[in-house]
Structure formats: C-alpha cells, structure tokens
C-alpha cells in the first residue's frame, strides 16, 4: 500500500456542494483533496439538477436554507464572470390561478423579509404581454427578477478547474471504504488511496448518511426523492422567457417550466419518495403527470415535443432544513442538501469555511488564480473568431457533432480538462445532446478519446466502470 498523503482537508463528494468547497478552500494556503466515487464530478445528484438559481423566497425566511439561497444567488453572479460559465438571468414567475393570490402575496412578504430585491406582483395584462403562452386563466403572478438558470455540471467543472489550477487535488473513481479517527487526524481510506487529514468535510449527497456512520457519527437518514424531467425540442419555440412555478406544494416547489441555458425548454420535476438510491428510471406515469400539470399552466405543450427525459434523486432528510454542522474532531457534515441546494452551494461553502476559520488560521493563497476560461464554443463564435481559432488549431474546423456543431478540438480540450467518459465529454461540450442523440457522433468521439487517452475502444465507458460501450475491440483502427 502506498504511503498515505497528508493533507489539511479531505472533501468527500464531487457534486455542487463538494466542488464549491474545493473552489472556496482553494483561496487559502492549505492542502486540500476532493474525492468522488463516480468516474467524474457531478455524476451523482448534481448532474440531474434542474439548474435553477432561485431567488430564495420559497423557503421559510427564518431557515438557514433560505438565507444561504439568497446569499448563493448573489455569489453566482460574481462567479459566473470569474469562472466564465453561462448564467442566464431569466427571472421567475410564481403564477396564481383564481383563489391563489393570497399565497403569492405571502411569498412576497417572506421574500422581502429576506431582502430579495425587486419583487413585484404582476397582473394578467402584464402576463399576456410578456408570457403569451401562459394560460389565460392565470390571474396574477409574483415576479422574481433575480432568478436565473445555469448548467449544474458546467458550473462544477468550472469551479473544479479553478480549484485544480490553485493546487487542490481532485480524484475521481475514489470511493471511501473506511474512516477512522487516529490520535490527531482522520484516516480516510478509499478504493484507490489513503489520506490523513485534519478536517473531513462530508458532502457525499445521497451517501452522506453512510459516510457519517463510517466515521461513527450519527447523522440524519437520507431519504431519496426522485424527480423526472422532460426536455422539449429546440424547434419548439422557447415556450416562456422566465422560469414558471405554480404556487408551492407542501414538500416541493411543484412542477415547473424551465427555459434552459441551452435554449430548450425543460418541464418537471416530479417528486416521489423512494427507497432505492439507485433508482433513476423514468416512467410513463411520470411523463403523464408532468404533462398534465404543465398543460394547465402552458396549454400549448405537446407530448410529441419531448426529445429527452431523465430523472434524478434529491438527498432529502426528514426535517425540511439543511443539516450542516461540525460534529467532532474536525468532521463536518453537510447532509440533506435538497432544493435550493444548487443555489445555496457557494454560500454553504462560504459558511463551512467560516466555520473552519474559527479552528485554524486561514491565510490567502499566494499567487491565487481568480479566473478560469471556458472551452471555446465554436457554435457561439463569430466567423472571424472561428477562422482565428482554426488557423491556430485546424481541429476547430473539424465538426464532430453535427446537431450541436461541436468540433474535434473542443472534444480534445474537454478530455484535457478531465473528461474520461462519454457523458463527461457530453456535459462539457454538448456533443451527443442534439436531436440524433449521439447516433452520428458517438464513434467519432470514442475515436478521439482513444487517441487522447491512449486506451482501446472497449475501455471507454458512458459514465464509469460497468458502462462500457463496446464489448471487444478488434483494433481495426478507423478509416
């Protein structure tokens, strides 16, 4: 066995919370490691998140989660500029049918108490003008202009790249197998390596309860809540300008219309308590339910506009609140981060780092790099910019994914920045996400991966071990 690496902090979990922590800790002069059991960051809970940066007004204003969401909303604006990821300030509308006005007025009061700016109740005429696809039965709506959409995985990769450039180590395919308290540190053993750390931050999402138990620390039990989402074809005109919410339900924010960063419309999610932390199936019943709810709000949505569906799990706990605390000996639990967890994540990181600052001296990292730049998106460039890129690197003139106009060099760059699976390439470049769903580009991408990573085709996976795409390679290299 290799000698354990000695570090100050081990972060367990490479979702939005763990990666936010890696990004936040990278600002300070200390050694930190982030470990993730999946093949790549975001592959657990976060990749299936709806991508909404909430205003924060839908939760109880006295709760920690509401306060962190409001703060997170502010932090994302600054981060989007520094880390070069899309942040689309769509705003949101909570729509009220006859009889529901009082509820949205109540939400507005909550929001104002939290200091959320520019909340306004808009009437039918305003709605008809700005959101003509909404049902004419909607009487009024609460407008929250500070809501926005992001791509969760894109944000995770941006933060991780920045953290890595500042010296934070990121190790995927590392599943924690044991956690033991030694005299002055924690021994963290994983499937691949061992670490000795002064602090352990448990941001393990669906497995956060298991990880805490490994350390011998009781923590609330995770109850997975499944959500199914459906994506509509881009040819279907953007249905709404802002994110549309019904008045909130008891447990969830309801079934929404979400204009995505990529220009599609997403509808969902359902909310269903389940037992199985691996159950990410979609169902006919889920589709029907989402369509029924959405057609009430946007009557023109049709079933045949659905081009993709997926489902994800929310790591809920019994109490409707985040569970964030330093337990003992420098073990920090971050458990039960469901909605608005994505919004709150940067603020959760800030909050936990402030917690650690009381225990240890944090000095700013010398030579800290504050920015990160995104992989060039050929599709979004002007002709001059395209030609400049192609002159520097002809790979930008080779289109690999025709539906989304993704070039060979973008795929190569994604791999250089850490993509190890087809899904990882997909999330970083949008290849395989278009209308052919990868039928035309899968092999071409695998060819580039084989070349860049020095592997054979049968070693390439969709999203980690066990999801190999082909069964054997005769090694007849292409063309």
């Amino acid at each position: 066995m290799r000698k354990p690496s000695e570090v100050k902090v081990v972060i367990i979990g490479g979702g939005i919370v763990g990666t936010s922590l890696a990004y936040e800790l990278a600002k300070y002069q200390l050694e930190a490691v982030l470990i993730e059991k999946e093949a790549e960051l975001s592959f657990g809970v976060s990749k299936s998140n709806s991508g909404i940066v909430h205003t924060g007004f839908q939760d109880d204003p006295s709760s920690l989660k509401a306060q962190l969401a409001v703060r997170g909303n502010q932090l994302y604006r600054e981060m989007a500029k520094l880390l070069d990821f899309p942040f689309i300030p769509t705003g949101e509308l909570v729509v009220a049918f006859p009889g529901e006005r009082e509820q949205i007025e109540h939400i507005r009061e909550n929001g104002e108490r939290l200091g959320i700016p520019r909340l306004e109740i808009v009437e039918g005429a305003w709605i008809r003008e700005h959101e003509p696809n909404l049902s004419t039965e909607i009487e009024c709506a609460l407008l929250g202009p500070t809501a926005a959409v992001i791509n969760p995985y894109e944000v995770i990769y941006a933060m991780a790249e920045n953290a890595a450039s500042n010296g934070v180590t990121i190790n995927c395919s590392n599943e924690v197998t044991a956690l033991e308290r030694e005299s002055d540190c924690w021994a963290v053993r994983t499937s691949e390596s061992e670490y000795k750390a002064h602090y352990v931050i448990n941001a393990a999402g669906l497995s956060a309860d298991t990880i805490s138990q490994m350390a011998g620390i009781p923590a609330p039990r995770i109850i997975p809540w499944k959500g199914e989402e459906f994506i509509l074809d881009r040819h279907a005109d953007r249905l709404t300008q802002s994110i549309i919410f019904p008045v909130p339900q008891k447990e969830t924010k309801g079934i929404l219309v979400i204009p995505t960063v990529d220009g599609n419309t997403m509808i969902g999610p359902t909310a269903e308590e389940i037992d199985d932390k691996d159950d990410i199936t979609t169902s006919e019943a889920g589709k029907k339910k989402v369509l029924r709810s959405i057609q009430r709000i946007v009557p023109c949505v049709r079933e045949d506009q659905i081009i993709a569906s997926f489902s994800g799990l929310r790591p809920a706990i019994a109490e409707n609140e985040f569970y964030i605390r330093e337990e003992r000996d420098g073990f920090v639990n971050i458990v039960g981060i469901k909605s608005p967890g994505l919004t709150a994540a940067p603020a959760i990181a800030e909050y936990v780092v402030q917690m650690l600052a009381k225990k240890m001296k944090l000095s700013p990292r010398k030579g800290y790099i504050a920015t990160r730049s995104a992989i060039p998106r050929f599709r979004h460039l002007s002709s001059d910019e395209r030609n400049r890129l192609i002159r520097e690197d002809p790979g930008y003139g080779e289109v690999v994914c025709r539906c989304e106009l993704v070039t060979k060099s973008e795929i190569r760059e994604a791999i250089k920045r850490g993509a190890r699976t087809l899904d990882g390439v997909k999330f970083r470049t949008r290849s395989q996400m278009g209308r052919c769903h990868g039928a035309f580009c899968t092999m071409k991408i695998m060819e580039i991966m084989a070349e860049e990573l020095g592997v054979t085709y049968d070693q390439i996976t969709k999203r980690g071990r066990g999801s190999e795409l082909v069964m054997e390679s005769h090694e007849l290299k292409a063309l």
């Binding site: 199936t281 979609t282 395209r386 039928a439 060819e447 996976t461 795409l469």
Partner: protein, 280 residues
C-alpha cells in the same frame, strides 16, 4: 453525387459537392451487405461498392468535391457557409441540392421508460461500430422495430457471433422489406414478434434486460440482454432548411432520403440524376 453527375451530363460546368465526412458515399460506405445496384448497374453489389463505382463517375467528370467540409448554414439568398480544417467559407450558388440523407429515430423520441445505461444504440450506429470500426456493441441483442437497418443488423450481429433474441415490432406488420426479413431473420432463425411494445429498459450501467408487452394478449415479458438496437424509422435530414426557416423551391431542392425515405438507392440515384439534368 448522382445530382452532380446528372448536372454534369446536362452540360453544367460549375458544380461543387460539399461532404462532411472524409470521403464521398455517405451511409453507403458502411453498408457492406448486398442488395444495391440491381436496377441501376444491373448487377448486385454492396453499398460500399456502389459508392465506389459512383465516386469514379464523379471523378471522371472532373466534378469538384470537397470532403471534411461541414455546411452549417444556408440562406434564402442561396449562400452556403461551411467549415473545414482551413477555415470557414461562404459560397453562393444558383441552385442548392440538399442530398443530406436522413437520420434515425431514437429511443429518446419514443420516450421508452426505464434507465439510460450503455448498450442502447440506433441500428445505424451499431452498423458503423461493426463495419467501420470493427468493434462489437454487444453479445445478447434485442432489436426494437423492424426497419431495414434493424433487420440487416440482426443478421450482421449474428454473423459476428452475437445472439439476437428477437425483433420486436409494435405494428401488426413488418416495416422493412420482405426480402430482408427472409434473408436476415428467417435464414438465421431470429424471431420477429409483431404487435409487441417495449415498456422499459432495465439496467443501471449497462443494459440488463428489456420488458415488453404482447399487445394482442396483454402478456408482459422480461427478456435479458446486454444490447438494444433501435430501428424505428428514419427522418429526412432537413434541419438546415428548418433552422433557416426556408421552404424548398426557388433554387433550393431536396433529393433522395432528404426529401422522403426511399427503399432503394437505385431509385434515389435515378431521381437525383434527373434533378441534376433539369438544373443544367
């Protein structure tokens, strides 16, 4: 290629073929099975041979063909913008022939419920894997849909050592050609189940099984497999026009499978040559 040849025959001088792949021939290049050319060349050949034969006709006529050139925009003024390894260019033309072929419908379009593991491919992608790259997409196969590519791939996978357990068709009749059913399924003992509907794909990382229903009896079954191939229809590839909001006409022409789905390449060839001559 056939439209270009037709136009050249008709006396047109300035013809440019823009092809996104590194070589001419399109999907024919991965069709290594027989059944092409019977009416046009009066002999039976593979798709690959058909493409090669036709390519020769293009080169003999000195038609300019640029490969690895990806057209991403056309305008109603008939300007075409394409990208290649030496830059982005815009050319304008009197006529644009869209011979862009078609694409396959996918599992996502049917929204078959269940999980999203590795091992779900369109029949055409599986064909590219086996015939172009020499890799096997799986060993225990179920084909959904009885389109021609699915039937051909059922045979191809069998010949490469896989077991094809069934071809499931939701309709009460075959979608592809009878000839392909006889030569690709019957000759290899692969069962075709009509009026059978896929209900769920099972498997976390890799496909483990498919659940389907016999719509005549209502009976549900779970069939273990590691690969599901979809052959559930083809869609003419007209996105360049749709994206630009252009209708065909005024010098913009659709031909072949980009216009509507054909059964035989020979028919596509004839149509395209005729169009080419008309434009000359």
């Amino acid at each position: 290629m056939a439209a270009a040849v037709g136009a050249a025959e008709g006396g047109l001088k300035k013809i440019l073929i823009l092809e996104r792949l590194p070589r001419l021939g399109g999907i024919l290049n991965q069709c290594i099975h027989l059944g092409f050319g019977l009416t046009y060349f009066k002999e039976e050949m593979t798709g690959t041979e058909y493409a090669a034969r036709y390519k020769k006709m293009v080169y003999e006529r000195d038609i300019e063909a640029r490969t690895s050139c990806f057209v991403h925009t056309i305008t109603p003024q008939k300007e075409i913008t394409f990208v290649c390894a030496d830059g982005e260019y815009t050319v304008s033309a009197k006529h644009i022939v869209m011979a862009t072929g078609c694409r396959e419908r996918t599992r996502e379009m049917l929204t078959v419920p269940g999980t999203r593991p590795a091992g779900i491919f369109t029949a055409g992608l599986a064909q590219e894997m086996v015939n172009i790259y020499g890799v096997m997409p799986g060993k225990e196969v179920v084909v959904i849909g009885s389109g021609d590519i699915g039937l051909i791939m059922a045979r191809r996978m069998t010949l490469e050592g896989a077991t094809v357990h069934a071809v499931l068709e939701i309709l009460d009749h075959l979608s592809g050609l009878i000839r392909n059913k006889v030569q690709c399924l019957d000759d290899f003992g692969i069962p075709l189940y009509l009026q059978h509907e896929p209900l769920e794909i099972i498997g976390r990382d890799r496909v483990e099984a498919i659940r389907y229903r016999n719509n005549q009896t209502g009976e549900h079954k779970i069939l273990p497999c590691d690969t599901v191939l979809f052959s559930v229809g083809l869609i003419p590839e007209q996105d360049l026009l749709i994206d630009a909001g252009i209708e065909p006409g005024n010098g913009i022409h659709l031909v072949g499978n980009a216009d509507y789905i054909h059964d035989y390449v020979d028919a596509v060839t004839r149509e395209a040559e005729k169009l080419g001559r008309l434009l000359a």
